[in-house]
Amino acid sequence: MTTAPPLHRDPAIVAAAERAIAELADRCSTLEAAAVTSDDGFRVAGIHGAAGDANRLASMTSTTQALGEAIIRELDLGDASHVAVAGTRGALLVRRIGSHKLVLVAVFAPASVDDGRIARGVAKRLAHTLDAVLEHRDS
């Protein structure tokens, strides 16, 4: 019996994540960095501009997502959707990918009103793709 590789080293998951990131980059001209990470902060795929160290961004994404979900849970606000952090030069968006143990992070500089909608669509399509990939992997 072979053991499935970790999510961040599964070629099918990495390929799907790379396609999603490419779509996001294609549709958002001010995308500075983006990544798909595991819940525990390992980078699955991503593109990186001037936004610092790629692995550090993956770790911080995991932390941001976990803190956001913990706060939503503590305040009994239902299911967490996304976490947005805005600065004067841009914004960071962290969004869970469906119900998977994976997270999408996107850094926009500057941010625009359409960024959140586009990122939501990309995450939703990636979630559907991963539904099939993970079903096959786990079967």
């Binding site: 525990d40 390992f42 770790s59 979900e69 913990a70």
Partner: protein, 184 residues
């Protein structure tokens, strides 16, 4: 009434989240994620942001923060250590070179260890390695030479043992504060 902010640091699997749950009188705010790479550490979950709990030591209130054990989350160490007054370093005795983890975490939190209080708790100590205590004491002395760092063997699941560890730390902080005020 005083308020204390205490950090729990130490490597992944040392028992930080368990210890905090043993002590806290509120439901612990936890940020555990599934550990996706069990080949590195065979633990089902790992803390990726912080654990938070509280305990009332009448008349004092203690806020307890557990930091992630993995170094790739060390930005959380920096965020939390600046507001902390005391440090509990937990290491598991069955890890290879537990004194190395003591060295690394005391070094990372040296400023807090010197400014506030510090104790070391050794978990999973009930194994046949009788020299661990001496090695950890020597390591703590090397990193924090200007003070005595208490080292306890503890079971992170045991509320009384963890309470003793915490009270020792609080007493250390209060003693240092009193000395600073007296000489000050």
């Amino acid at each position: 009434m005083a308020e204390y902010v205490i950090l729990f640091a130490g490597p992944m699997g040392a028992g930080k989240t368990t210890a905090l749950r043993s002590l806290s009188e509120i439901e612990v705010v936890s940020t555990e994620a599934v550990n996706s790479d069990r080949s590195r550490n065979d633990k089902p979950t790992t803390t990726v942001a912080l654990d938070y709990g509280e305990i009332d030591l009448d008349p004092d209130k203690v806020r307890l923060y557990g930091v992630p054990g993995q170094e790739r989350f060390d930005f959380m160490w920096e965020i939390l250590r600046d507001r902390a007054m005391g440090l509990i370093v937990l290491v598991n005795a069955d890890a290879p070179e537990p004194e190395r983890h003591v060295y690394e975490h005391l070094t990372a939190f040296a400023e807090l260890a010197n400014r506030g209080g510090v104790v070391v708790g050794v978990t999973r100590y009930d194994i046949q390695r009788t020299d661990i205590g001496d090695r950890i004491v020597a390591t703590a002395r090397a990193v924090v030479p200007d003070r005595v760092t208490p080292v306890f063997a503890v079971d992170a699941r045991d509320q009384e043992q963890m309470r003793t560890l915490l009270l020792s730390l609080i007493a250390d902080i209060e003693t240092r504060q009193a000395l600073a005020e007296a000489t000050g």
